[in-house]
Amino acid sequence: MAVIEEPLALPSGTTKARRPLGAFSRPRNATGLVDWLTTVDHKKIGIMYGMAAMFFFIIGGVAALLIRLQLAAPNSTILSADTYNRVFTMHGTIMVFLVVMPIGAAFANYLLPLQIGARDVAFPRINAFSFWVFLAGGLMLNSSWFLGGGANGGWFNYAPNNGAAFSPSTGIDFWNLGLFIAGIGSLSGAVNLITTVLNMRAPGMTLMRMPVFVWMTLVTQFLLLFAIPVLTAAQLLLLLDRQFGANFFNVTQGADPLLWQHLFWIFGHPEVYLMILPAFGIVSEVIPTFSRKPIFGYPFMVFSGIAIGFMGWGVWAHHMFVSGIGPLSVTAFSVATMFIAVPTGVKILNWLATMWGGKLILNTAMLFSIGLVTQFTIGGLSGVTHAVAPSDTQQTDTYYIVAHFHYVLFGGALFGFFAGLYFWWPKIFGYKLNEKIGKWNFWGMVLGFNLTFGPMHILGLQGMARRMQTYDVSMGFNLWNLVSTIGSFILGVTTLLLFVNAWKSYSEWKAAGRPNVGADPWDARTIEWSIQSPAPEHNFDVTPTVSDLDDFWHQKYAEDDEGKLRQVATGDELAQPGNGEGVHLPAPSYWPIVLAFSLPIVGYGLIYSLWFCIPGTLLTIISIYGWALEPADDLDIDDHGHGPDQEMEPAV
């Protein structure tokens, strides 16, 4: 609400803290749990995004292993048809919406302000809200496991099978409302992060000096900003159909089920690119660092990212080649899809060119990055083979597609995220991850990954359709399914090595008396390495002034008189000491979490009884006003109903 107490007019020196609506005042000096629940610090929020994503990753991973167990042998009955359908739907949904997207958000949150030299994001409270509302939606979606079983419509949930007549159980309602709520978080996050990038860059940080990661995240957030509302619209229609008897997908009334497909994929295709672009951004930071060369062709990297973002809007119907959209549409979308290979190829080749002539340090982060380059290419190439519509009529809805998207999603997005974790771990937590376990982690995953998903190419071409609870012996799928299942367990175990590594590295670090890892353990390039590790709460003691791409590297290295590059200072010498005295940070707040968790109450109300909606809605309204009326002991200024926070105040 655009409702402001007059904090700004408070006379100097008054410490009167208002208790609006008799509820909370802003928490201060919060510690422990309360600190985490009320924090508005982008770094803590980033970490929470990461942890939540990891939590959901385990759930989605266990679901995946159940799928693989069921498919290990023909005619197996470990999962009933109904359970199987729920498990694969939830697996896909969780992995896409609650794992890959939030990991992207985690990196974006943690790194964007640091990489552009800002104190925080533009609207810190909204940032906290984005996270909590994502978590609320994710938990609501997962609560369906215990409330009648998960959704059973497949992750793209085609109409009319998602209607009440064909899916009467509540799973799909949870899918619909849970993602609806999580979507609010993505949307507010996108507004927030775009504003941050466009508006809060340090002096001298022009657009073309921003790290590639910042660029890719910016594109990602634009994709979110415009794609989520389309999904929201589709979900609104579905909600009205299921809960209020509307007819949008009611075929007997003449509705056209393809409407859902169009809406879903208009969202869905940009969605797949917004899952991969953050990972592209990450490896674009890692590869130059460990090749000890600048990224090859920075402008091309940036513009190809933007091009992918744009082209991503013109190809959605490649998911509908056999839906009967007519040969004209098929032709147009088929050709458009193929050309997406061009900007993506530019990226791949530029990474290789960065490695060309470099001096590569093959630590785990770098290995995962090279892993992305190779594994993603496999997925990208299979993508091109089904961009060719006639061949897609044979491939679509077979395991060949399953292979494609796991190669791009796991081999692309997740490998990139793992690279990022190994790379930025010291900045986030103050210690490095163990390299030895890291190498096991990497090679184990490469092995497990290819064993799991490589055979799926073969299975798909042999005609194994996806979403099949079981298959017959006579179909000849036995061998490769077994291989795939074995691979998936190797993959699962080796993935867990990450957690083992974190735990082990931490205890060793603790045992060693928590030695300082230094501001710049990798001899890295961008300005987040110019502050202490772990990053201090206020980020920069002094807002940096940027004069170059890879500014920090240019501070460390300069040409001597003979024109030879020399190290003029080490990162640790240049690093800010981390004592930001007098820095004023936004105060924590209860309202983001309260507002976020008021929404699922409305959601449950819509599913079970509209009466529940009343307290839910009341709580929502109270939280909005509470938020807006919250005493601003920082510069909180709110606006129209979304109550964005003020930016971090300038000079303090």
């Binding site: 340090a202 657009l207 900003l225 056209d256 807002t543």
Partner: protein, 116 residues
Amino acid sequence: MTDSITLDSTDTHGHSDHDDHAHPTEKQYWIVFVILAVITAVEIAWSYMGLEGPALVVPLIIMMVVKFLMIAGVFMHLSFDSKMPNGRTFYLCFGAAMVLAILVFLVVLAAFEFQI
């Protein structure tokens, strides 16, 4: 309060002092309003002319777009704000979305038209 830390701008140092003089006057607003009202009247009249097909639709769409642009440009200050340094960001955010929405959904509707 130290003055050493600023989150100051990069591309444009300091903030341009665009002021109300850049915005239209009350009178101009009224004029715009009258124009909008007239267009609306014409639209309604047009819809009563008993025309069909493109003869009905095309002028209506044109008038709709004109109205749209006038409200966005004048009332929402788009045409004024966009003159400020970097004001084109407005176009980026809103215009891109507008164009995108129109194109994407036109294609959807077309796809339903041309099924063969």
